[in-house]
Structures are given as C-alpha cells and as structure tokens.
C-alpha cells in the first residue's frame, strides 16, 4: 500500500503559515525577555487557561499521540485508563494539596523545591537525572519527526555540502531544530507555552474531521463494537483477572501501579508539566492549571484512542490494510494516524492534520528544552558552576543553554537513529529513576520530620529496587535483555504493562519504607521555621482570592472528579 502522501500546494501553504506564526510568536515575545524570570519562568504572569492547556499539551507530544492511537488498536477502551484514573486523581491532588507548596515556596523548579525542603544532594540527583532525561526526550521527538516527515513528505533531497551528505532525514531534523531553536531563544518558556496552546487547538480542530468521517464509515460506536472483541470495549469490566483483558493487568495493578504510583509520579513531580503551573500569574491560577488541563484531558481519548480502534475495526472487516512492521508479520499500529489521514483527508484538511502532527512533535521538543533550560541554569549552573552572578548573566546563560539543549538533542536524535536499543535502555533507566520520586514528595510535603538523608537514600534505594524488579521478571513471551530477566527469572507477568506497573509499585514501596526508616534514624536538620511554606502542617491554609465560589479550585476539582467518575461508569 502507498505510504506517502501527495500533498497539494494548499497543504504546503498551511504548513508554511503555521511555521510563520510559530516564529512570529517568538519574535513578538522577544522584547519582553528582560530578565531571567521572564525568560525561564514566563515572568509568572500567565492566565490559568493558557497554563492549563499547556499543562496537558506538554504531555501531548506526537510520541504520545501516535503511541496512544497504537494503544487504542492494541488495548481498545482499556487505554482510557491513561486518561481517567492514570491522570485525573493526580491532577486534582496536585492542584489542591501540592501546588500551594510549589507555587508558594517561590521555588523556580522542582529540583529547587527539593533543595529547600531537603538538601543539596537530593536536588543534585534530581536535577542531573532530569536534565539528561529532557535532552534525550527532546532528541527522540526530533528523531520521530524527521522519520515521519521523510515518509509522508518525500522531497527527494540529496545534497552534498562540504563532503557531508544531507538526505531527507537530515533536512527535516535540521529544519525542525532550527525552528525550535529560534523561537525558544527569542521567547523562552513563554514561547514554548504559547506554542503548546496553539498546538492543542490544532490537534483538536485538525483531528476532529478524521474521527468524524472514520465513525461515519464504520457505523458509529455500534459499528466499532460489532468488529472488535468485547474485552476491548470496556475499561473496567474485564479487570477481574489479568488474563481476561488485552492490557494484561488486573484492577489492583491498574489502580495502584498506573493510577497511584506512575500517575502521581509523573503529573505531580515531573518538572516538564509542573513548570507550566508554576508559570501562572497567581496562586489561584497555578492551582487551577492542572484542573483546567484535566477538563479537555478526559475527552482526548475521542481524538487519539478512538482512531486506533476504528483502524483495527476496519482492518478486521478487511476494509483497511495496516502496514506491517519491517521484516515481521505484526501490524505496525504506530502507523494508524498517518494511514487514516491518508485514507480520509483530501487536500486542505490534510494540510491541517499534518500541521497538527508536526506541531505536536515540535512542542514535544520545545517543552523538554524549556524545562532543561530552567533546571540547567538554576539548579546546575547557578548551584554548582557560577553562583552569585548578576541576573543579566543568568539570562544570557539561559539563552545559551537553549542552544546547547537543541544541539544535544540533535546528537541524541542521531544516537536514536543508529542505536535503537540504546534509547530503549535509557528510557528504562529513566523509568527506574522516576518511579520512587513521588514517595519523597509525599513524605516530604506531609510529614515535617522527613529528613534530607532519608529522601536521598530513599530515592537511590527505590531506583535500585526498580532495576532489581525489572531484572528478575519478564513479560510473557519476552526474551532476556531489555525486557528484563537479566538477573535471573523469578516471575513472569502476563504483559509488559503489568511488569511496568509492578516495577513502579515495588520502587515506590521501597522508597517509602526506606525514607520512613532512615528519617527515624537521622536527626532533623531543618527547623520548623525553615520548613514553613514547604510542609503541609507548617503552612497556613491558602486563601483563594477568586471572586465567586464557582471560580475556586476546590469547586473545579469536584466538577472534574464528577465528570471522570461519570465517564468511567459510561465506559465501564
């Protein structure tokens, strides 16, 4: 089957107009970038709806979009767990309980909060791990963009510049890197956030026609139901045992692994998303950020999961060929979105759909670069390399860090191109480092006794236990290596998801117990006065300055929670 698009003049024009706007936003923001706070913290001045949309958009990179469409084809409605239980409770918790400390403490980053609450080594560990992780994530986004672009927009580029061969892949990589670099150097974090908001609307408006026509062809919800196995049509009904549902996880693993450890670990401690809330203009806006993000988040499955299910249903009917993975007989579900775009979209809307995909790749890069900038400048450069310099100096460093971040991302994109396994391996290590983080935050924010030594060794211990758990288990059918089992084989999980969820549960529990124990054995080094504003029991309750009751975060939280429960019941 044909795997390239024939883009018309109008499609190219739409893509070009989008690029002009992206660069224009950066250019228009340039004159406001007068100090490091404006550049690296967006001046803490943005309205809640902007930071709220950026909050979920930063997570809606193209890897996520393509991956979730693929999950829709693999796991069906079970995928909505990543949108409901795997996101909403954590977002509500962040807004109501954690945001007062993040925003109120005036910390400029998550690592800086760790330094204020615990100590230097805990901050250092988190800052370095996070900086490396963001550069790699940004590089993977770049790699994926160049890979997709050369397939769907073949340009027949074969240049030879000073003896270096430049093909399509290199061309698209450079173009995307240069665009991201320019708008990030000009407008800093604000540029990244504004483009995430733009990307959000592009995805909704660009993908809605695809879902509309897809549903028409298949015959709506009933049509999908008639062509997919029943256990793909429910989110909870088949979670009684792991073997009965396509995800291969039972309800406890879903609730504890995904809903608690992984979700809280990601949404409440990952600086990439938390940074969006910290850029808000007031405490009230900061607390509303995750809640405003949660509203559209719950409806995103209609745009990303449903297309995957439509594609599989059509394929089961014999109406659609999903391309196979190279050299195998396995369907490559990562191609679902491009295949459907090609199937339904004539010139015009096709350009908008492609633009939406490109936008999500680029903001995947920019989001990571913006978080990298802030952490590198404040938590590595200012903390360990050159403290006590003028603000002008740090603004300059922030700008240069953008250049370094993009260059490092280009390098990692090429690493990803040549050694696919290296990237899988690195992502695995990041997962190990991330899993125990929430334990340190939970204890640190709600138990004033928790000490820095305890948090640090809890994190290290949790990371090691994640590695051990992974090393001693395998998903069913997996072979020893990156999938696990490299220390021996003690247990086999029904699926990779089950293994991931349980790795997280083990890492979190180890970190929690270790931190508890070491806290009891070590001396509390920070006085209650120093911990004011950082710990729940020592912080005066935040008064919300919203005029009306329906503008308060608490009310919004109840609405978000209620919608999530109703949706979960409908798609039971």
């Amino acid at each position: 089957m044909q795997t390239t698009f024939s883009l018309g003049t109008i499609d190219w024009a739409i893509i070009l107009i989008y690029f002009i706007f992206v660069l224009g936003i950066g250019w228009a923001l340039k004159r406001y970038m007068k100090d490091s706070k404006a550049f690296l913290e967006a001046g803490r001045s943005l309205p809640a709806w902007v930071t709220g949309l950026a909050f979920i958009s930063a997570n809606l990179g193209a890897i996520e979009m393509i991956g979730m469409a693929a999950s829709g084809a693999k796991y069906g409605m079970m995928t909505v767990h990543f949108y409901f239980i795997g996101a909403i409770p954590a977002m509500i918790f962040l807004a109501i309980f954690m945001m007062p400390f993040y925003y109120g403490s005036k910390a400029r980053s998550v690592p800086e909060y760790l330094k204020m609450r615990f100590d230097e080594k805990t901050r250092g560990f988190n800052a370095f791990a996070f900086a490396i992780m963001t550069v790699f994530s940004s590089g993977i986004s770049m790699y994926a963009l160049a890979l997709l672009a050369q397939v769907i927009m073949p340009l027949q580029i074969d240049w030879n510049i000073m003896g270096i061969h430049i093909g399509e892949f290199d061309f698209y990589l450079m173009v995307s890197a240069v665009i991201v670099l320019v708008y990030m150097v000009l407008g800093g974090l604000t540029s990244a956030i504004y483009n995430e908001v733009l990307q959000f609307f592009l995805i909704v408006i660009g993908f809605a026609p695809l879902v509309f026509i897809g549903l028409k062809e298949i015959g709506g919800w009933e049509g999908i139901k008639a062509n997919l196995p029943e256990n793909m049509m429910h989110s909870w009904k088949f979670t009684g045992s792991a073997g009965a549902n396509p995800l291969g996880v039972e309800w406890f693993g879903v609730v504890m692994g995904l809903g608690f450890v992984l979700s809280f670990g990601y949404w409440t401690t990952n600086f990439l998303v938390v940074q969006r809330a910290m850029a808000a203009g007031s405490m009230s806006a900061a607390r509303k950020t995750p809640l405003i993000g949660a509203l559209p988040k719950m409806f995103l499955p209609a745009l990303v999961v449903i297309p995957g299910m439509i594609a599989l249903a059509l394929s089961n009917m014999g109406e659609l060929d999903i391309p196979l993975k190279a050299g195998t007989t396995i369907q490559d579900f990562d191609k679902v979105i491009p295949v459907l775009l090609m199937r339904y979209m004539p010139m015009g809307v096709l350009g908008v759909g492609i633009t939406a995909l490109m936008a999500s790749f680029m903001s995947g890069m920019a989001g990571n670069v913006s978080a990298f900038n802030t952490v590198f400048t404040f938590d590595i450069y200012q903390a360990y390399i050159r403290p006590d310099k003028s603000d002008k100096h740090y603004l300059k460093v922030g700008r240069w860090t953008t250049v370094v971040g993009v260059l490092a991302s280009i390098m990692t994109a090429y690493v990803a191109k040549s050694f696919n396994n290296v990237m899988d391996f690195l992502q695995l290590i990041f997962a190990f480092v991330n899993a125990p983080l929430f334990a340190a935050f939970l204890l640190g924010m709600f138990w004033k006794r928790t000490t820095g030594h305890a948090a640090f060794w809890g994190l290290i211990g949790g990371t090691i236990s994640a590695a051990l758990h992974h090393g001693f288990t395998l998903p069913s059918g997996g072979s020893v290596g990156i999938k696990g089992g490299f220390f021996g084989l003690l247990h086999t999980y029904p699926s990779e998801m089950a293994q991931n969820f349980w790795t997280a549960i083990y890492a979190f529990s180890t970190a929690l117990i270790l931190t508890l124990l070491i806290t009891l054995l070590t001396k509390k080094l920070k006085t209650d006065d120093e911990l004011k504003g950082l710990v729940y029991s020592l912080t005066p309750k935040t008064k919300d300055d919203s005029k009306y009751w329906y503008q308060k975060p608490e009310f919004l939280a109840i609405v978000v929670g209620a919608i999530a429960i109703v949706l979960s019941i409908i798609f039971w």
Binding site: E217, P346, V349
Partner: protein, 71 residues
Amino acid sequence: MGLDIKIPIGLMFTIFGLILTILGLVTKGDTAMYEQSLGYNINLLSGLIMLVFGCFMLFTSRLFKKKKEKK
C-alpha cells in the same frame, strides 16, 4: 506576558478557515475529490468551524477590548 496569545491563535485559525472555506466552495460538487471523505465536503465544514473559532478568539482578545475602551 505582553502578548495576548488569543491574537496569534485567532489570526492563524481565521486564515486557515478562510483558505479551507474558499477551497471548499471552489471544489463544491467535485465528487472525485471528496470520494475519500465519504462525500462530505470536509474542507467547507472544517473551514467554517475554524473561521468561527478564529473570529471568536480575535473578538475576545485584547485587540478588541482596547478598541472598546477607547470608545
């Protein structure tokens, strides 16, 4: 931040909306082109939605509010 994000969003979707609406009108009745979208003139439909959204963003942006205040 000094720039109201509603202005670029509004402008971009108004331009996209205009392009697609005009394209949809020009290609109206082109059954071969819209065969793949099951006969729906998807450009016209999407174009109109984008136009409405783009204009809404512009009218609620600072651009419009300032003018109002001047009057």
